[in-house]
Protein backbone atom coordinates (compact mmCIF):
# COMPACT_ATOMS: atom_id res chain seq x y z
CA UNK A 1 0.00 0.00 0.00
CA UNK A 2 1.37 3.41 -0.94
CA UNK A 3 1.73 6.01 1.80
CA UNK A 4 -1.39 7.82 2.94
CA UNK A 5 -1.96 11.06 4.83
CA UNK A 6 -4.13 11.44 7.92
CA UNK A 7 -5.08 14.92 9.05
CA UNK A 8 -4.32 15.51 12.73
CA UNK A 9 -7.92 16.62 13.16
CA UNK A 10 -9.06 13.17 11.92
CA UNK A 11 -6.93 11.24 14.42
CA UNK A 12 -9.69 11.19 17.05
CA UNK A 13 -12.19 9.68 14.63
CA UNK A 14 -9.66 6.98 13.68
CA UNK A 15 -9.01 6.13 17.35
CA UNK A 16 -12.76 5.93 17.89
CA UNK A 17 -13.13 3.57 14.93
CA UNK A 18 -10.29 1.40 16.25
CA UNK A 19 -11.84 1.39 19.74
CA UNK A 20 -15.07 0.04 18.27
CA UNK A 21 -13.12 -3.08 17.19
CA UNK A 22 -10.70 -3.63 20.06
CA UNK A 23 -9.04 -2.01 23.04
CA UNK A 24 -6.59 0.75 22.16
CA UNK A 25 -3.61 1.66 24.34
CA UNK A 26 -1.76 4.93 23.83
CA UNK A 27 0.23 7.55 25.70
CA UNK A 28 -1.94 9.94 27.73
CA UNK A 29 -1.11 12.85 30.03
CA UNK A 30 -0.73 11.56 33.60
CA UNK A 31 0.22 14.67 35.50
CA UNK A 32 2.03 17.98 35.31
CA UNK A 33 5.01 18.89 37.46
CA UNK A 34 3.64 21.26 40.13
CA UNK A 35 6.71 23.48 40.03
CA UNK A 36 7.07 23.48 36.23
CA UNK A 37 3.83 23.45 34.22
CA UNK A 38 5.73 22.78 30.98
CA UNK A 39 7.08 19.52 32.43
CA UNK A 40 4.40 17.03 31.39
CA UNK A 41 4.41 13.42 32.61
CA UNK A 42 2.94 10.88 30.21
CA UNK A 43 2.00 7.25 30.68
CA UNK A 44 0.74 4.34 28.57
CA UNK A 45 -2.91 3.46 29.22
CA UNK A 46 -5.89 1.87 27.61
CA UNK A 47 -7.57 4.93 26.15
CA UNK A 48 -10.83 5.93 27.82
CA UNK A 49 -11.57 8.74 25.34
CA UNK A 50 -9.96 9.37 21.91
CA UNK A 51 -9.39 12.98 22.94
CA UNK A 52 -6.96 11.77 25.64
CA UNK A 53 -4.43 10.35 23.16
CA UNK A 54 -1.22 12.41 23.26
CA UNK A 55 0.99 11.64 20.28
CA UNK A 56 3.10 14.67 21.24
CA UNK A 57 4.40 12.66 24.21
CA UNK A 58 8.10 12.22 24.87
CA UNK A 59 8.93 9.71 27.60
CA UNK A 60 6.92 7.39 29.84
CA UNK A 61 7.92 5.63 33.09
CA UNK A 62 6.84 2.23 31.76
CA UNK A 63 6.79 1.30 28.09
CA UNK A 64 4.02 -0.52 26.23
CA UNK A 65 5.62 -3.79 27.41
CA UNK A 66 3.03 -3.94 30.18
CA UNK A 67 0.25 -4.66 27.66
CA UNK A 68 2.13 -7.64 26.24
CA UNK A 69 3.31 -8.85 29.59
CA UNK A 70 1.38 -7.48 32.59
CA UNK A 71 3.51 -6.72 35.69
CA UNK A 72 1.47 -9.29 37.61
CA UNK A 73 0.12 -12.15 35.54
CA UNK A 74 -1.83 -15.25 36.58
CA UNK A 75 -0.40 -18.33 34.88
CA UNK A 76 -2.23 -21.37 36.28
CA UNK A 77 -5.26 -21.90 38.48
CA UNK A 78 -5.73 -25.06 40.51
CA UNK A 79 -7.67 -26.65 43.35
CA UNK A 80 -6.00 -27.79 46.55
CA UNK A 81 -6.19 -31.40 47.72
CA UNK A 82 -7.50 -34.26 45.55
CA UNK A 83 -8.45 -33.28 41.97
CA UNK A 84 -6.04 -30.36 41.68
CA UNK A 85 -7.08 -29.86 38.02
CA UNK A 86 -4.46 -27.27 37.12
CA UNK A 87 -5.62 -25.09 34.25
CA UNK A 88 -3.38 -22.73 32.29
CA UNK A 89 -4.62 -19.16 32.07
CA UNK A 90 -3.92 -17.87 28.56
CA UNK A 91 -5.63 -14.54 28.75
CA UNK A 92 -5.66 -12.34 25.65
CA UNK A 93 -7.88 -10.21 23.46
CA UNK A 94 -7.13 -8.11 20.40
CA UNK A 95 -5.64 -4.73 21.20
CA UNK A 96 -3.88 -1.91 19.39
CA UNK A 97 -0.80 -0.10 20.70
CA UNK A 98 -0.96 3.37 19.19
CA UNK A 99 2.05 5.68 19.05
CA UNK A 100 4.92 3.29 19.83
CA UNK A 101 8.28 5.02 19.45
CA UNK A 102 11.10 3.31 17.51
CA UNK A 103 12.97 2.39 20.73
CA UNK A 104 9.94 0.53 22.07
CA UNK A 105 9.30 -1.18 18.71
CA UNK A 106 12.88 -2.46 18.90
CA UNK A 107 12.42 -3.46 22.53
CA UNK A 108 9.31 -5.49 21.68
CA UNK A 109 11.35 -7.35 19.05
CA UNK A 110 13.83 -8.27 21.79
CA UNK A 111 11.00 -9.51 24.03
CA UNK A 112 9.58 -11.52 21.11
CA UNK A 113 12.92 -13.26 20.65
CA UNK A 114 13.41 -13.82 24.39
CA UNK A 115 9.96 -15.30 25.00
CA UNK A 116 10.10 -17.49 21.87
CA UNK A 117 13.47 -19.09 22.55
CA UNK A 118 13.99 -22.37 24.43
CA UNK A 119 10.55 -23.16 25.87
CA UNK A 120 8.20 -20.69 24.14
CA UNK A 121 6.10 -18.70 26.60
CA UNK A 122 2.41 -19.19 25.69
CA UNK A 123 1.21 -16.40 27.97
CA UNK A 124 3.35 -13.78 26.24
CA UNK A 125 3.05 -15.13 22.72
CA UNK A 126 -0.76 -15.30 22.83
CA UNK A 127 -1.02 -11.67 23.83
CA UNK A 128 1.62 -10.69 21.32
CA UNK A 129 -0.15 -12.39 18.43
CA UNK A 130 -3.28 -10.42 19.28
CA UNK A 131 -1.43 -7.10 19.30
CA UNK A 132 -1.36 -4.54 16.50
CA UNK A 133 1.40 -1.93 16.63
CA UNK A 134 1.04 1.55 15.22
CA UNK A 135 4.46 3.17 15.40
CA UNK A 136 5.22 6.86 15.74
CA UNK A 137 8.51 8.17 14.36
CA UNK A 138 10.69 10.52 16.41
CA UNK A 139 12.10 13.71 14.90
CA UNK A 140 14.34 14.61 17.84
CA UNK A 141 15.79 12.90 20.94
CA UNK A 142 13.42 12.79 23.94
CA UNK A 143 16.07 14.21 26.29
CA UNK A 144 19.70 13.92 27.41
CA UNK A 145 19.18 10.37 28.72
CA UNK A 146 18.24 8.83 25.39
CA UNK A 147 20.90 7.26 23.20
CA UNK A 148 18.75 5.25 20.82
CA UNK A 149 20.91 6.16 17.82
CA UNK A 150 23.91 4.46 19.46
CA UNK A 151 21.93 1.34 20.35
CA UNK A 152 20.58 0.90 16.82
CA UNK A 153 16.94 1.28 17.77
CA UNK A 154 16.14 4.54 16.01
CA UNK A 155 15.39 3.08 12.58
CA UNK A 156 13.43 -0.16 13.00
CA UNK A 157 12.66 -1.83 9.69
CA UNK A 158 9.98 -4.14 11.04
CA UNK A 159 8.03 -4.89 14.18
CA UNK A 160 5.15 -2.53 13.41
CA UNK A 161 1.96 -2.73 11.36
CA UNK A 162 1.66 0.97 10.63
CA UNK A 163 4.18 3.81 11.01
CA UNK A 164 3.08 7.38 11.55
CA UNK A 165 5.36 10.32 10.87
CA UNK A 166 4.18 13.65 12.27
CA UNK A 167 4.20 16.36 9.59
CA UNK A 168 2.76 19.39 11.35
CA UNK A 169 -1.00 19.24 10.86
CA UNK A 170 -1.01 15.72 9.40
CA UNK A 171 0.53 12.26 9.79
CA UNK A 172 2.34 10.47 6.98
CA UNK A 173 0.92 6.94 7.21
CA UNK A 174 2.98 3.96 6.04
CA UNK A 175 1.50 0.48 6.07
CA UNK A 176 3.85 -2.41 6.77
CA UNK A 177 1.53 -5.43 7.09
CA UNK A 178 -1.89 -6.73 6.04
CA UNK A 179 -3.14 -6.10 9.55
CA UNK A 180 -1.87 -2.55 9.21
CA UNK A 181 -3.82 -2.14 5.98
CA UNK A 182 -7.00 -3.19 7.77
CA UNK A 183 -6.30 -0.68 10.55
CA UNK A 184 -5.76 2.16 8.09
CA UNK A 185 -8.99 1.29 6.26
CA UNK A 186 -10.80 2.51 9.37
CA UNK A 187 -9.24 5.98 9.01
CA UNK A 188 -10.17 8.93 6.85
CA UNK A 189 -6.96 9.18 4.81
CA UNK A 190 -5.95 10.32 1.35
CA UNK A 191 -3.07 9.07 -0.78
CA UNK A 192 0.16 10.98 -0.19
CA UNK A 193 0.96 13.59 -2.84
CA UNK A 194 4.40 14.49 -4.13
CA UNK A 195 4.46 17.38 -1.63
CA UNK A 196 3.63 15.01 1.26
CA UNK A 197 6.44 12.69 0.20
CA UNK A 198 8.85 15.61 0.06
CA UNK A 199 7.75 16.67 3.53
CA UNK A 200 8.36 13.10 4.74
CA UNK A 201 11.86 13.12 3.25
CA UNK A 202 12.53 16.49 4.86
CA UNK A 203 11.47 15.03 8.21
CA UNK A 204 13.89 12.13 7.69
CA UNK A 205 16.74 14.51 6.88
CA UNK A 206 16.04 16.65 9.90
CA UNK A 207 15.85 13.53 12.05
CA UNK A 208 19.29 12.47 10.86
CA UNK A 209 20.76 15.84 11.78
CA UNK A 210 19.03 16.07 15.18
CA UNK A 211 20.30 12.79 16.63
CA UNK A 212 23.95 12.49 17.61
CA UNK A 213 26.09 9.60 18.78
CA UNK A 214 26.84 9.71 22.51
CA UNK A 215 29.09 6.65 22.86
CA UNK A 216 32.68 7.02 21.65
CA UNK A 217 32.48 3.66 19.82
CA UNK A 218 30.15 1.62 17.61
CA UNK A 219 27.61 -0.75 19.13
CA UNK A 220 29.37 -3.80 17.68
CA UNK A 221 32.32 -3.19 20.04
CA UNK A 222 30.20 -2.97 23.20
CA UNK A 223 30.28 -6.70 24.14
CA UNK A 224 34.08 -6.77 23.91
CA UNK A 225 34.46 -3.49 25.76
CA UNK A 226 32.27 -4.91 28.52
CA UNK A 227 34.39 -8.06 28.63
CA UNK A 228 37.53 -6.00 29.09
CA UNK A 229 35.92 -4.04 31.91
CA UNK A 230 34.86 -7.06 33.99
CA UNK A 231 37.44 -6.51 36.73
CA UNK A 232 37.34 -2.72 36.53
CA UNK A 233 37.01 -0.69 39.72
CA UNK A 234 34.26 1.25 38.01
CA UNK A 235 31.57 -1.20 39.18
CA UNK A 236 32.43 -0.75 42.84
CA UNK A 237 32.52 3.03 42.40
CA UNK A 238 29.09 3.24 40.76
CA UNK A 239 27.58 0.71 43.17
CA UNK A 240 28.32 3.01 46.11
CA UNK A 241 25.55 5.23 44.74
CA UNK A 242 23.18 2.36 43.92
CA UNK A 243 20.18 1.65 46.16
CA UNK A 244 19.56 -1.73 44.51
CA UNK A 245 15.96 -0.55 44.32
CA UNK A 246 15.22 -2.28 41.02
CA UNK A 247 13.67 0.80 39.39
CA UNK A 248 16.01 0.45 36.39
CA UNK A 249 14.80 -3.07 35.66
CA UNK A 250 11.13 -2.36 36.24
CA UNK A 251 11.22 0.63 33.87
CA UNK A 252 13.31 -1.22 31.24
CA UNK A 253 11.40 -2.15 28.07
CA UNK A 254 13.54 -5.24 27.41
CA UNK A 255 13.91 -6.75 30.89
CA UNK A 256 12.08 -10.07 30.94
CA UNK A 257 12.98 -11.71 34.26
CA UNK A 258 10.11 -12.67 36.51
CA UNK A 259 9.47 -14.27 39.88
CA UNK A 260 6.85 -17.00 40.28
CA UNK A 261 4.79 -17.55 43.42
CA UNK A 262 1.47 -18.98 44.59
CA UNK A 263 -1.58 -17.12 45.78
CA UNK A 264 -3.83 -19.43 47.79
CA UNK A 265 -7.34 -18.55 48.94
CA UNK A 266 -7.57 -18.26 52.72
CA UNK A 267 -10.12 -21.13 52.86
CA UNK A 268 -7.39 -23.32 51.27
CA UNK A 269 -9.77 -24.51 48.52
CA UNK A 270 -7.96 -23.18 45.45
CA UNK A 271 -5.09 -21.05 44.29
CA UNK A 272 -3.27 -19.41 41.42
CA UNK A 273 0.32 -19.51 40.28
CA UNK A 274 1.32 -15.95 39.48
CA UNK A 275 4.38 -14.24 38.05
CA UNK A 276 5.55 -10.69 38.52
CA UNK A 277 8.44 -8.60 37.19
CA UNK A 278 11.66 -9.35 39.00
CA UNK A 279 14.87 -7.34 39.13
CA UNK A 280 18.46 -8.56 39.09
CA UNK A 281 19.39 -5.56 41.26
CA UNK A 282 17.42 -6.83 44.25
CA UNK A 283 19.26 -8.55 47.06
CA UNK A 284 17.37 -11.90 46.86
CA UNK A 285 17.40 -12.18 43.03
CA UNK A 286 20.30 -14.63 42.86
CA UNK A 287 19.49 -16.39 46.12
CA UNK A 288 19.06 -20.12 45.67
CA UNK A 289 17.86 -23.00 47.84
CA UNK A 290 19.99 -23.29 50.95
CA UNK A 291 20.36 -19.54 51.21
CA UNK A 292 23.42 -19.18 48.96
CA UNK A 293 23.44 -15.91 47.02
CA UNK A 294 25.84 -15.82 44.10
CA UNK A 295 25.49 -12.07 43.52
CA UNK A 296 25.38 -10.81 47.08
CA UNK A 297 27.52 -7.75 46.41
CA UNK A 298 25.76 -4.66 45.10
CA UNK A 299 28.58 -4.07 42.59
CA UNK A 300 28.28 -7.56 41.12
CA UNK A 301 24.53 -7.04 40.61
CA UNK A 302 25.07 -3.67 38.98
CA UNK A 303 27.74 -5.07 36.66
CA UNK A 304 25.43 -7.96 35.82
CA UNK A 305 22.73 -5.58 34.60
CA UNK A 306 25.18 -3.63 32.45
CA UNK A 307 26.41 -6.92 30.97
CA UNK A 308 22.87 -8.21 30.38
CA UNK A 309 21.93 -5.04 28.54
CA UNK A 310 25.11 -4.73 26.49
CA UNK A 311 26.19 -8.32 25.90
CA UNK A 312 24.31 -11.31 27.32
CA UNK A 313 20.83 -10.61 25.87
CA UNK A 314 22.38 -9.88 22.48
CA UNK A 315 24.26 -13.17 22.60
CA UNK A 316 21.20 -15.13 23.71
CA UNK A 317 18.50 -13.63 21.51
CA UNK A 318 20.37 -11.98 18.66
CA UNK A 319 18.61 -8.73 19.54
CA UNK A 320 19.92 -5.72 21.49
CA UNK A 321 19.38 -5.85 25.24
CA UNK A 322 19.38 -2.07 25.58
CA UNK A 323 17.49 0.16 23.17
CA UNK A 324 18.87 3.42 24.59
CA UNK A 325 15.46 4.76 25.66
CA UNK A 326 16.95 6.24 28.86
CA UNK A 327 14.12 5.04 31.14
CA UNK A 328 16.53 3.43 33.65
CA UNK A 329 18.54 6.63 34.03
CA UNK A 330 15.40 8.73 34.49
CA UNK A 331 14.04 6.26 37.03
CA UNK A 332 17.27 6.22 39.06
CA UNK A 333 17.13 8.40 42.16
CA UNK A 334 20.92 8.19 42.41
CA UNK A 335 21.27 9.26 38.76
CA UNK A 336 23.16 6.17 37.60
CA UNK A 337 23.30 6.23 33.81
CA UNK A 338 23.82 3.19 31.60
CA UNK A 339 24.93 5.52 28.81
CA UNK A 340 27.56 7.23 30.98
CA UNK A 341 28.70 3.83 32.24
CA UNK A 342 29.20 2.56 28.69
CA UNK A 343 31.16 5.76 27.97
CA UNK A 344 33.21 5.36 31.15
CA UNK A 345 34.35 1.80 30.42
CA UNK A 346 35.51 2.66 26.89
CA UNK A 347 39.14 2.82 27.92
CA UNK A 348 39.14 -0.27 30.19
CA UNK A 349 41.84 -2.88 29.69
Amino acid sequence: MLPQVLKTSDLGAWVEALMAESRVAAPVLKETNVSDPTDLKFGWQYVPDPADVRLDYTVTVLGPKKFLWPPRQKLVRYNLGAGAEPEAIIDHEPHVLLGVHPCDITAIATLDAAFAKDVPDPHYLARRSDTAIIGLDCGAPCDESSFCLDMGSLYPESGFDVMLTPLGDAYFVEVATQLGEALVEAAVVRPATKQDMEAHQAFAEEKRSDFHYKLPYELKYLPEILDASYDSLVWEAIARQCFSCGSCNIACPTCYCFDVYDEVEVDLSKGCRVRRYDSCQLDPFAEVAGGENFRQERASRLRHRMFRKGKYILEQTGRVGCVGCGRCERACVAGISIKDTYVQIAGSR
Binding site: F243, A251, V264, E265, V266, D267, A334
Partner: protein
Amino acid sequence: MADKPTLAFFSLACCEGCQLQVLACEEKLLPILEKADIVRFREASDGDADHYDVTFVEGSIVTAHDLERIKEIRAKTDTLVALGACATIAGVNAVKNFQDPDDVAAYVYGDKKEWFPHIAARPLKAEVPVDVEIHGCPINSDEFLEVVTCLLMGKPYRQPNYPVCVDCKLAGNVCLWNKGIPCLGVVTRAGCAPLMCPSAGHKCIGCRGLVDNPNTQAAKDVMAEFGLTVDDVLREFRLFQGIYDEVAKEA
Protein backbone atom coordinates in the same frame (compact mmCIF):
# COMPACT_ATOMS: atom_id res chain seq x y z
CA MET B 1 -0.21 -27.62 65.06
CA ALA B 2 -3.34 -29.21 66.54
CA ASP B 3 -6.34 -30.02 64.36
CA LYS B 4 -7.91 -26.69 65.12
CA PRO B 5 -5.14 -24.29 66.05
CA THR B 6 -5.70 -21.54 68.61
CA LEU B 7 -4.99 -17.91 67.74
CA ALA B 8 -4.57 -14.99 70.14
CA PHE B 9 -4.13 -11.24 69.74
CA PHE B 10 -2.39 -8.92 72.23
CA SER B 11 -1.61 -5.22 72.32
CA LEU B 12 1.35 -3.46 73.88
CA ALA B 13 1.99 0.28 73.41
CA CYS B 14 0.12 1.23 70.24
CA CYS B 15 -3.13 2.60 68.86
CA GLU B 16 -4.61 -0.88 68.21
CA GLY B 17 -5.10 0.14 64.61
CA CYS B 18 -3.50 -3.09 63.40
CA GLN B 19 -6.16 -5.15 65.21
CA LEU B 20 -8.73 -2.99 63.44
CA GLN B 21 -7.02 -3.81 60.13
CA VAL B 22 -7.53 -7.49 61.02
CA LEU B 23 -11.23 -6.86 61.67
CA ALA B 24 -11.36 -4.91 58.39
CA CYS B 25 -10.82 -8.25 56.60
CA GLU B 26 -14.53 -8.77 57.44
CA GLU B 27 -16.02 -11.76 55.60
CA LYS B 28 -12.57 -13.00 54.67
CA LEU B 29 -12.07 -13.80 58.37
CA LEU B 30 -14.89 -16.36 58.29
CA PRO B 31 -12.87 -19.14 56.58
CA ILE B 32 -10.17 -18.59 59.22
CA LEU B 33 -12.72 -19.03 62.00
CA GLU B 34 -13.70 -22.38 60.46
CA LYS B 35 -10.11 -23.57 60.58
CA ALA B 36 -8.91 -21.98 63.83
CA ASP B 37 -10.21 -20.82 67.21
CA ILE B 38 -9.54 -17.24 68.19
CA VAL B 39 -9.17 -17.49 71.95
CA ARG B 40 -8.14 -13.96 72.75
CA PHE B 41 -8.90 -10.78 70.82
CA ARG B 42 -9.71 -7.73 72.91
CA GLU B 43 -11.07 -5.65 70.04
CA ALA B 44 -13.59 -8.37 69.18
CA SER B 45 -14.30 -10.74 72.10
CA ASP B 46 -13.59 -11.90 75.70
CA GLY B 47 -11.85 -15.11 76.75
CA ASP B 48 -8.36 -16.60 77.10
CA ALA B 49 -6.44 -19.91 77.05
CA ASP B 50 -3.28 -21.43 78.58
CA HIS B 51 -1.53 -22.02 75.30
CA TYR B 52 -1.64 -20.40 71.88
CA ASP B 53 -0.55 -21.98 68.62
CA VAL B 54 -0.21 -18.57 66.98
CA THR B 55 -0.08 -15.24 68.77
CA PHE B 56 -0.28 -11.88 67.04
CA VAL B 57 1.21 -9.07 69.12
CA GLU B 58 0.91 -5.43 68.14
CA GLY B 59 2.60 -2.53 69.89
CA SER B 60 6.05 -1.75 71.27
CA ILE B 61 7.65 -2.52 74.58
CA VAL B 62 7.82 0.80 76.47
CA THR B 63 7.49 -0.21 80.15
CA ALA B 64 8.90 -2.88 82.46
CA HIS B 65 5.38 -4.29 82.58
CA ASP B 66 5.35 -4.70 78.77
CA LEU B 67 8.61 -6.59 79.13
CA GLU B 68 7.05 -9.08 81.56
CA ARG B 69 3.96 -9.46 79.41
CA ILE B 70 5.81 -10.23 76.20
CA LYS B 71 7.92 -12.85 77.99
CA GLU B 72 4.77 -14.48 79.41
CA ILE B 73 3.10 -14.42 76.00
CA ARG B 74 6.18 -15.87 74.34
CA ALA B 75 6.27 -18.72 76.90
CA LYS B 76 2.68 -19.70 76.06
CA THR B 77 3.09 -19.35 72.27
CA ASP B 78 4.33 -21.65 69.52
CA THR B 79 4.47 -19.10 66.68
CA LEU B 80 4.83 -15.43 67.59
CA VAL B 81 3.82 -12.92 64.94
CA ALA B 82 4.79 -9.26 65.38
CA LEU B 83 1.89 -7.23 64.02
CA GLY B 84 2.62 -3.78 62.65
CA ALA B 85 5.40 -1.21 62.83
CA CYS B 86 5.26 -0.72 66.63
CA ALA B 87 5.92 -4.42 67.13
CA THR B 88 8.41 -4.96 64.29
CA ILE B 89 10.57 -1.81 64.40
CA ALA B 90 9.23 0.08 67.47
CA GLY B 91 7.33 2.39 65.13
CA VAL B 92 6.59 5.97 66.08
CA ASN B 93 7.10 5.05 69.75
CA ALA B 94 10.85 5.11 69.10
CA VAL B 95 10.74 8.85 68.43
CA LYS B 96 10.97 9.34 72.19
CA ASN B 97 14.26 7.43 72.30
CA PHE B 98 15.98 10.48 70.85
CA GLN B 99 14.67 12.85 73.52
CA ASP B 100 15.28 13.23 77.23
CA PRO B 101 13.20 10.53 79.04
CA ASP B 102 12.15 12.96 81.80
CA ASP B 103 11.04 15.61 79.32
CA VAL B 104 9.04 13.03 77.42
CA ALA B 105 7.29 11.82 80.59
CA ALA B 106 6.57 15.39 81.71
CA TYR B 107 5.19 16.26 78.28
CA VAL B 108 2.64 13.43 78.45
CA TYR B 109 1.89 13.05 82.19
CA GLY B 110 2.82 16.44 83.63
CA ASP B 111 3.33 16.42 87.42
CA LYS B 112 2.15 12.77 87.56
CA LYS B 113 5.13 11.60 85.51
CA GLU B 114 6.55 9.59 88.45
CA TRP B 115 3.48 7.35 88.31
CA PHE B 116 4.30 6.10 84.85
CA PRO B 117 7.89 4.85 84.68
CA HIS B 118 8.94 4.03 81.13
CA ILE B 119 11.89 2.53 79.32
CA ALA B 120 13.23 3.18 75.83
CA ALA B 121 10.77 1.96 73.18
CA ARG B 122 11.80 -1.26 71.43
CA PRO B 123 10.31 -3.83 69.08
CA LEU B 124 9.41 -7.35 70.20
CA LYS B 125 12.48 -8.92 68.61
CA ALA B 126 14.72 -6.88 70.89
CA GLU B 127 13.49 -9.00 73.84
CA VAL B 128 12.04 -12.30 72.57
CA PRO B 129 12.41 -14.44 69.45
CA VAL B 130 9.85 -13.44 66.80
CA ASP B 131 8.83 -15.99 64.15
CA VAL B 132 6.98 -13.83 61.60
CA GLU B 133 6.84 -10.07 61.05
CA ILE B 134 3.99 -8.18 59.41
CA HIS B 135 5.22 -4.65 58.88
CA GLY B 136 3.38 -1.40 58.31
CA CYS B 137 1.54 1.40 60.04
CA PRO B 138 -1.03 0.06 59.96
CA ILE B 139 -0.59 -3.45 58.56
CA ASN B 140 -1.98 -4.30 55.14
CA SER B 141 -5.03 -6.58 55.64
CA ASP B 142 -4.11 -8.62 52.56
CA GLU B 143 -0.69 -9.39 53.98
CA PHE B 144 -2.31 -10.51 57.24
CA LEU B 145 -4.51 -12.93 55.29
CA GLU B 146 -1.50 -14.18 53.34
CA VAL B 147 0.44 -14.84 56.54
CA VAL B 148 -2.52 -16.69 58.07
CA THR B 149 -2.90 -18.75 54.88
CA CYS B 150 0.78 -19.72 55.05
CA LEU B 151 0.48 -20.63 58.74
CA LEU B 152 -2.60 -22.76 58.07
CA MET B 153 -0.76 -24.52 55.24
CA GLY B 154 2.34 -24.96 57.38
CA LYS B 155 4.52 -23.15 54.88
CA PRO B 156 6.96 -20.35 55.70
CA TYR B 157 5.89 -16.79 54.94
CA ARG B 158 8.57 -14.89 53.05
CA GLN B 159 8.16 -11.18 53.61
CA PRO B 160 8.93 -8.88 50.67
CA ASN B 161 12.62 -8.07 50.61
CA TYR B 162 12.72 -5.31 48.05
CA PRO B 163 12.16 -1.55 48.29
CA VAL B 164 8.90 0.30 47.70
CA CYS B 165 10.37 1.60 44.39
CA VAL B 166 9.60 -1.72 42.73
CA ASP B 167 5.86 -1.57 43.39
CA CYS B 168 5.82 2.18 42.77
CA LYS B 169 7.35 1.73 39.31
CA LEU B 170 5.00 -1.18 38.60
CA ALA B 171 2.14 1.20 39.35
CA GLY B 172 3.57 3.53 36.69
CA ASN B 173 3.98 6.33 39.21
CA VAL B 174 6.20 9.27 38.33
CA CYS B 175 9.01 9.17 40.91
CA LEU B 176 8.46 11.72 43.69
CA TRP B 177 12.18 12.51 43.62
CA ASN B 178 11.68 13.60 39.98
CA LYS B 179 9.03 15.98 41.28
CA GLY B 180 11.30 17.41 43.95
CA ILE B 181 9.92 15.41 46.89
CA PRO B 182 12.41 13.32 48.94
CA CYS B 183 10.90 9.87 49.53
CA LEU B 184 12.16 6.99 51.69
CA GLY B 185 10.79 4.38 49.28
CA VAL B 186 14.32 3.70 48.00
CA VAL B 187 15.33 1.99 51.25
CA THR B 188 11.97 0.97 52.71
CA ARG B 189 10.68 -2.59 52.62
CA ALA B 190 7.80 -3.02 50.17
CA GLY B 191 4.54 -4.84 50.81
CA CYS B 192 2.15 -1.91 51.09
CA ALA B 193 1.00 -2.01 47.44
CA PRO B 194 -1.52 -1.25 46.10
CA LEU B 195 -2.27 1.21 48.93
CA MET B 196 1.19 2.75 48.99
CA CYS B 197 1.55 6.42 49.87
CA PRO B 198 3.43 7.47 46.68
CA SER B 199 0.46 6.32 44.57
CA ALA B 200 -1.54 8.98 46.40
CA GLY B 201 1.19 11.58 45.88
CA HIS B 202 2.61 11.32 49.42
CA LYS B 203 6.25 10.51 50.13
CA CYS B 204 7.08 7.17 51.72
CA ILE B 205 7.91 7.72 55.40
CA GLY B 206 9.37 4.27 55.94
CA CYS B 207 6.68 2.67 58.12
CA ARG B 208 7.63 -0.85 57.01
CA GLY B 209 11.21 -0.44 58.12
CA LEU B 210 14.37 -0.83 56.08
CA VAL B 211 14.78 -3.47 53.42
CA ASP B 212 17.58 -5.97 54.21
CA ASN B 213 20.96 -4.54 53.28
CA PRO B 214 19.79 -1.00 52.44
CA ASN B 215 22.21 1.55 51.00
CA THR B 216 21.37 4.16 53.63
CA GLN B 217 24.63 6.00 52.88
CA ALA B 218 23.51 6.53 49.28
CA ALA B 219 20.11 7.67 50.57
CA LYS B 220 21.75 10.25 52.84
CA ASP B 221 24.03 11.40 50.00
CA VAL B 222 21.09 11.86 47.65
CA MET B 223 19.14 13.73 50.30
CA ALA B 224 22.15 15.96 50.97
CA GLU B 225 22.39 16.73 47.25
CA PHE B 226 18.76 17.72 47.52
CA GLY B 227 19.80 20.39 50.00
CA LEU B 228 18.56 18.63 53.13
CA THR B 229 20.64 19.03 56.29
CA VAL B 230 21.87 16.16 58.46
CA ASP B 231 19.10 16.94 60.94
CA ASP B 232 16.46 16.81 58.21
CA VAL B 233 17.78 13.48 57.01
CA LEU B 234 17.91 11.98 60.49
CA ARG B 235 14.39 13.20 61.17
CA GLU B 236 13.18 11.45 58.04
CA PHE B 237 14.84 8.23 59.14
CA ARG B 238 13.81 8.42 62.79
CA LEU B 239 10.07 8.75 62.37
CA PHE B 240 9.74 5.00 61.96
CA GLN B 241 13.24 3.65 61.88
CA GLY B 242 14.62 4.47 65.30
CA ILE B 243 17.88 2.70 66.03
CA TYR B 244 16.45 0.04 68.32
CA ASP B 245 19.53 -2.20 68.40
CA GLU B 246 21.50 0.35 70.40
CA VAL B 247 18.48 1.10 72.55
CA ALA B 248 18.02 -2.56 73.38
CA LYS B 249 21.62 -2.87 74.56
CA GLU B 250 21.17 0.01 76.95
CA ALA B 251 18.28 -1.71 78.81
